[in-house]
Amino acid sequence: MNRLRESFTTVAATVIEGWNELRAQRTRVLMSLIGVGLAVAAITGAVAAGSIAEQSIREGEERGSGRAASLSVNAFDDNGPTDPVLLAERLEPLVERFGIDYHSRRVYGEPLALESPSGLLRTESAAVDPAWGAMRRIPVEHGRWFTERDERMLAPAVLVDEIAWENLGSPALGEHPTVRIQGERSATAEIVGVVASQNSSREWSAGTVYLLVDDYLELAPPLDPMISSVETSLWVPEAEAEALADAIRAELRAQYPVTISVQVERNDPAAWGGGAATGLLWLQLGLVGVASIVLLLAALSLVNITMVTVRHRVREIGIRRAFGATGRRVFVGVVMESVVGTAFAGVIGVAIAVLALQNPWVRELIGDGIVEPPPFPIGAAVVGLLVAVGVGAVAGVLPALVAVRVRVIEAIRF
């Protein structure tokens, strides 16, 4: 009974195998190409996600301490920072002289109260110069950032962060909403833009209001160096950063008494080696590792299948050689077959990666709060395609060597 079943199985298997030969071959080619495609998608995706996440992390750091190259300017005496207004006055002509377009102060000032429908909001204040937005990539969600013109307007222009905006009832910016600000004095300001919230949580903060330094000084009590700190930043070309820092330091030192120490130093992340996204790096390495194994398996199965098809075609190869195909031609032909297949799979794989990274949910995950979302990194797509073509070429070489060694005489002899 068992023997009968066994023989039946053998016969059936042989019949089915014969019947399916061509079709099975195609399915296996397809399977291995799907493997190549998925692996390429994973590798491309990992590389691309890495560069997007890197952008996100870099932007985060730059918001904190500036883009490359940012110089921070300080003047201290024994008691701490000296009068920031004086520093600004002395810096102004130097900035002009050295042609520095981007320079800004940032006053970490006293809270200001905004009149809202539900009462007074005690918001944090961020007083800056117009250049600050570009220097720190401040993410403006609605409306616009400050312009030079805002400095000359009588009614102050302000931006609020999302938390403050919501607390104010999310007024439409198209309708030029105004808000009454109370400090030492009070004024009515136009809200020109909304900024994404920076490290403030809704529970702890009623939001932040951004205003120009001069407007802040109008509203707030006189600057007390003990309470409010002022950061003065210059954003300069990286190549000139050091020379400019030295020159400005020298000029300022000449204007202050020796008891005051003047510092002009780079403080952007690039200056101290940049922050590496180590956690992400491990994730990327893991993804690339798994993808490499998939790729290896797919390549092996591709080699296997191409081998089989070459053996099937020994007679055909012999005939072609009898009619003038050189060995090189046969070799390249077999390699090309494999390359065309994997290149096609590679294009599909890259497309999958592009689509996956276009997905808002995935974007949110890897590049939280990016101001300048980078387009799909071309480098990653190139890496993916090169990997695909490379795998095709490597997988094609062995079968191609077999094809070249076909002896014409034997191939066409019956």
């Binding site: 007679r315 055909e316 005939i319 072609r320 050689r321 009898a322 009619f323 003038g324 195909a325 050189t326 060995g327 090189r328 031609r329 014409v408 005489i409 066409i412 002899r413 019956f414």
Partner: protein, 232 residues
């Protein structure tokens, strides 16, 4: 000057028991451009081995083949591949067409290796050649849908499509009935004369051998002029 010349050509193979089998010995033969030569011989007498040598598919173990004025030993394998594609067309007993490929695609094969001009005109050249062998209506038919005689005519079209100097036909009628074989052979003879190609035909059939200008007999690896063929 002769198209090719064989001088004392021998071909032997080493058998698995390490003994030597001499398939051909001391073969001398010179064929001029456009000449038709037939070779008869019993099965196993070395005819195919001789044809493989003439077709630059094999090398002699002794002697020299002078092809188009150059000794074969001076040509690289790449040169030989090129010369074969350019100058030689094969017609086999078993047709050796590519299965599943149409008559047109089969006839196109040699043109794939024939350089730019003919590559781009391959369809029209191959179509003209198939019309010439009477298959203008069967361009799209695969070998599976062609009779033996038709398949051999496709093979003749393929052998001649690059305009070779030499056609090597190894028992071209061996798989056909007598009448079909005679017609196919006459076609091969006519078309190769019209294109000026030399033709070497291996055959069992004295009537077919008689179509040639000269007839040889191969016996136990030795080539000798065939008196009866010349007389007939």
């Amino acid at each position: 000057m002769s198209l090719f010349r064989l001088e004392g050509v021998a071909r032997s193979v080493r058998l698995p028991d390490d003994s030597r089998l001499d398939i051909l010995a001391g073969v001398d033969l010179a064929v001029d451009a456009g000449e038709h030569v037939s070779i008869v011989g019993r099965s196993g007498s070395g005819k195919t081995t001789l044809l493989n040598l003439l077709g630059l598919l094999d090398e002699p173990t002794a002697g020299e083949i002078v092809w188009d004025g150059r000794p074969l030993s001076a040509l690289s394998s790449r040169d030989r591949d090129r010369a074969r594609g350019r100058d030689i067309g094969f017609v086999f007993q078993q047709f050796n067409l590519l299965s599943g490929r149409s008559a047109l695609e089969n006839t196109i094969v040699p043109l794939l290796y024939a350089g730019t001009d003919r590559f781009w005109k391959r369809r029209s050249i191959a179509t003209a050649m198939l019309e010439r062998v009477g298959l203008g209506e069967r361009l799209a038919s695969t070998p599976e849908h062609l009779s033996g005689g038709e398949q051999q005519r496709v093979a003749i079209a393929r052998a001649l499509v690059r305009g070779p100097k030499l056609i090597l036909a190894d028992e071209p009628t061996g798989a056909l009935d007598v009448e079909t074989g005679a017609r196919v052979m006459r076609l091969l003879d006519d078309v190769s004369r019209a294109t000026g190609a030399a033709l070497i035909t291996i055959t069992h059939d004295p009537a077919i051998a008689a179509l040639a200008d000269r007839c040889y007999r191969l016996d136990a690896g030795r080539l000798a002029p065939e008196r009866s063929g010349a007389a007939a």
